[in-house]
Symmetry: D2
Subunit: 320 residues, 4 copies
């Protein structure tokens, strides 16, 4: 990672104690709560009204309500190597956006329309902005971070051939941004490992400190050169190698040690009504679409492919 | 314009009576008001508290606060001809986004950082969504429109070489989306003419009904196939030919007959602090940047170029 | 009901066809949907993505996110008679507010802190504002209504002795405003009957057209004389006689024919931590508190009292 | 002030360095900026885009956009003595609310409808919440404060006879909550002095540390026992003695040393249209209304009355 890395001093948002805030639905009502970090109730969720619940038994809501979501295209060396055959994709980070309506919570559905062939996972960590931020330097940027979350930047790759690179329809559809389970601070992000799972098997893995090209401080300072970031805004920090397509019934997870494990299930929905009338770009299955949906197996560790295929096989057996 | 055009029946949002709502600052306080359509006070603004003010004498605020802003790349045949040498750019519309922090009001500043060479105007009409909208057909889409506004989709073209087509830094910077003066309904949009002015001279012009390729109903139905549009969301409907770069001191306006005339002034600001440290993509002046910033004069009516140059000359004389 | 009542003409928002919009959680993700009004799937919920679900099997979220909530103190003749021994409480309506954090959805928990003795139900109908509204006349006010919902204006009556009439702590606590299941338009509100249930037994009942003193048009025009109402704002229209206290385990419902049936369950939570330190007004059990919590049985139909007691008895038996 | 006062340790939000953030309109566009605290440009405002402007020359917007506003009825011993003839009004603080639509900025208009006789000033300090807050103890509450602002809690006292104590129409009308000029942290609030001015003459004055009965930590802990406070929420901390009515043309200011000086001008507007039809409670001039509008001169320092009358006299002379 460039730009003052390793950090001379760990920024406050990464120093302990660990604090994880979650937004959950208990008995049909929405509450904020804090994960209990030690003692007999460690790992349980203390609602703000003092009740303690097992977070495994409650529905989660997204812990953020951003006014904008900005995503780094490539920020992991393994992903750069896979897609571009070199360890750094571009001299400086590049970005796209997802609309706030794509936000989704832990334990969610991720929708795959009937006319779409490819829906790819991308496990990432998200940065949540805590204070209005514009025109800051990388060293100052840490002070504007509220915390970090696991995230899944899902993409309908059949729309890769349209939108001239903005990926609005690839990445912007409803439900395509599961995030959570909570917002975490007080954890040294650079010592954590990110893993994406398909049906319980690891299909992406990266040590964040070793493999990410740009840190969140750099990315915030870059974006805030021109764009004011507001409290609650979300920055998605890119995915490591082996983003691949998944099928209805698949359970996709992004786990980041220290942050938590985020789960979503792929669910089929009917094709949009207007698509039947021929309105808009129809899903395509071009070489470019397939290149992104399938990636380059020869440039990623073989175990990801093996796990991916094994998970797919199990899903098929389960369905039949 | 395709897809049931000419319309068999004018949709309610385009049928009279005309209603224009504005958000203004009077004596330092923000109010909503309605333009008076006839009688002795025609053209004045009746604040909701019954006071009547001359809208030319008050500061305007943006009449919208969208959760997302989606823009059509090209939707005018003249623009398609200029940039692609053919009357229709693609089979179906393509889109990019601007963040809500780019929103600006009538009578605003449009910021040009000191290290940016090219800041282009694009006069457009904007569609404001009135009701939550997902999975609708073009015929139904009209019911989800609140009204229409003039807009200026400004772009810092020096960032054209980065972001792989998303144009986040080209189109997303603070202040780059003046919109207003108000939201208008009850006007037949397809009978209106759009004009962009540089220092009072026409530099873009298009008859909306004759030249736009896709209507708002088609675009809404297209986007809402996958993305829920929320009340207040804004869709920018593309610009006609002759988008060009402007300089600090220039007054840029977008006038749409029946809707109103929107004004902004280009203002220089310092380069971002982080740019001096070399953070992020630095403004470039590549052939691709210049191609977009300068366009193709041979494919646009000569009077636009003449007016553009005359306006530029006057600005220089005024400065010296 | 006064002020042009019966209405000369039914306003558009009360004319058919009926439309009911709900916000639900399916598979952990939030969606908007519309109730199917006829045919084989009548009563089912069509999500905006075309899937059809049984609304009885999914979790509901609040269908509104108001910037403010204003409630009429008394707007039913039976309630006025109960509390003031006369058919009209005051010459003109009076109001209080509830904070947006009190909002709750259908099928929710309603929280009763351990140190509170009395938590009263009040079944009501809510009006949802659809357009920015200020300085309108009653006849015009109908155009600013988005729709209607059942609501439960719950109150912790032990805080009746503080706040000098604002009832912030009586009515403002988290979870004290269940609203839904959906927003409905196209129904003649004045022909509907409101019923509140405790554990399935009717404990409040009123024919809205016969018993309400002020219509929503009057109330909107009254408030909007000084206060701008924004889209999504909620007005609670008062409760009929026999508001009474309920206990943890009780299921409280507000049903309005034509609009739907809203359910909540009373749930005990610990007393606030600061209360143990003596911070703030402590719950009281004064004559005034008891007067409101228990009401005047001699001025309400006996069957309400009978049903209330029977429901209470069943709850106790169920608990033991 | 009770509850651990004097504080054993100054909370972080009151420790230096001082930071003041303002939201302003420059050239018609809205920006955030920070007051420069020392050096040659001390007192100027550095916009986030690096430009420096004189804050005296730019229009201010409200620095907050709260989801709710909660106000303490009485929290100053001088006000308690004036209105209740005793140094403490009640054992514990009591509260009312103002709707977010009442928010207004520095240098604003404060509207007085033509049918209202009395519009009273109340200079106060406001607390802005920085983090979601529920069920906290007073000692913990400091961590949830973003900063402090001067505020004017204006009231149309002619509506004192309605709303049964909630004061919705007294305190809730549009424009009745000027707040700003900015949000300040890093200042020891308890060492500051609050002054309200009518046309430049002091008409209220209080040393915050000496005269306030409850600190913000106590009030937050009290409210958050039942109500979740969200980032941006505003708490108004009460006014000292000598709230009095002002007239169109009067300039009212609230200055808090260390925080800034907030200005508003009283402006006449027509009576609401619906009032002419007799809709709603009409302004009254009862003994209770006059008691509050005029207060008790014999229980306040004579200089406030003298200054008030002198300022009134000057306004009349200026008008004639």
């Amino acid at each position: 990672m460039n730009f003052e890395f390793p950090l001379k001093e760990l920024p406050a948002v990464m120093r302990g104690p660990r604090v994880e805030r979650r937004r959950v639905l208990v008995g049909g009502s929405a509450y904020w709560g804090t994960i209990i970090e030690d003692g007999a109730e460690q790992g349980l969720l203390r609602l703000d009204d003092s009740r303690v619940v097992d977070p495994a038994t409650v529905q989660h809501l997204p812990p953020v309500a951003p006014s904008k979501i900005i995503a780094v295209h490539i920020s992991y060396s393994s992903r750069s190597f896979e897609t571009r055959n070199q360890p750094k994709p571009t001299e400086t980070p590049t970005y796209f956006t997802k609309p706030p309506t794509s936000i989704n919570g832990h334990g969610c559905e991720i929708l795959k329309p009937a006319d779409s062939l490819y829906l790819n996972y991308e496990g990432e960590y998200a940065v949540v902005i805590g204070k209005t931020c514009r025109n800051v330097l990388p060293d100052e940027a840490w002070d504007y971070i509220e915390g970090f979350c696991p995230a899944l930047d899902m993409g309908l790759q059949n729309y890769r051939d349209t939108d001239q690179g903005s990926m609005l329809r690839v990445k912007g559809a409803d439900t395509l941004l599961p995030i959570g389970p909570g917002i975490v601070k007080g954890v040294n992000l650079f010592e954590q490992t990110l893993r994406t799972y398909r049906n319980g098997r690891v299909v992406q893995e990266a040590h964040i400190g070793d493999e990410t090209i740009w840190g969140p401080h750099y990315v915030i300072a870059d974006i805030a050169r021109h764009i004011t970031l507001l409290p609650g805004d979300v920055i998605l920090m890119g995915t490591p190698c082996h983003s691949r397509s998944v099928d209805p019934g698949d359970v996709v997870e992004c786990e980041i040690t220290g942050l938590g494990r985020l789960t979503g299930t792929i669910v089929a929905i009917p094709a949009p009504r207007a698509s039947a009338l021929g309105v808009g770009h129809q899903p395509t299955d071009s070489p470019e679409v397939r290149r992104v949906a399938f990636g380059f197996d020869e440039r990623v560790p073989a175990r990801f492919k093996d796990n991916y295929v094994a998970a797919q096989k199990e899903l098929k057996e389960k369905k039949t």
